[in-house]
């Protein structure tokens, strides 16, 4: 009997790849040189990110 992957696994993998690609594209389009670089502070007690 041939080994077949359930459709749900393929769909999950596809969504994961799509999500990763979109996330990377979003970071590139933002102009951010890297998500690791940042300035954060509080302004009058309110967090600013």
């Amino acid at each position: 009997m041939p080994l077949t992957r359930p459709k749900s696994v393929l769909i999950t993998l596809s969504l994961l790849i799509l999500f990763t690609a979109c996330k990377r594209d979003s970071a590139n389009n933002s102009g951010s040189t890297s998500l690791d670089y940042y300035i954060k502070f509080t302004l009058d007690g309110n967090d600013q990110l």
Binding site: S32, Y37, I39, K40, G45, Q48
Partner: protein, 137 residues
Amino acid sequence: MYNAEGNVNANAGGNYIFTGAAVKVAKFATSNNLALSLTSVTQIKTNITYVNYATTTAGNERAALATVSYIDPSSISFNSWGDEYKSFGIISASKISFSEITTTDLKGSFSGTSYKSINGTAEKHIITKGEFNLKRR
């Protein structure tokens, strides 16, 4: 914040300069912008807190300039001023320090009180718990 970049120890006329900035909206620098400026007569090092007021505290050093600048969402600019302007009633409270200076990254902390104009009664913002990790340019 985006575009978090800076440089340090650029030498201009014997002064050592650090500048760093980031914006909240990518590539849009005219609002929600935080900028740090530091000028020292000696090379800028880690583990020293550079301030914009006279100090005798161990580990602190009075910088020629230590400025925390903030541009609010309405593009109004707020700046901190050294204690040479204390006759105007302002509070000089800028602190900038580095925990790591490498060829690629600048990490550290900051705080300050920034005013809309050089006047103690002017609108101001108190900036605390500042942290930065900047891509070195």
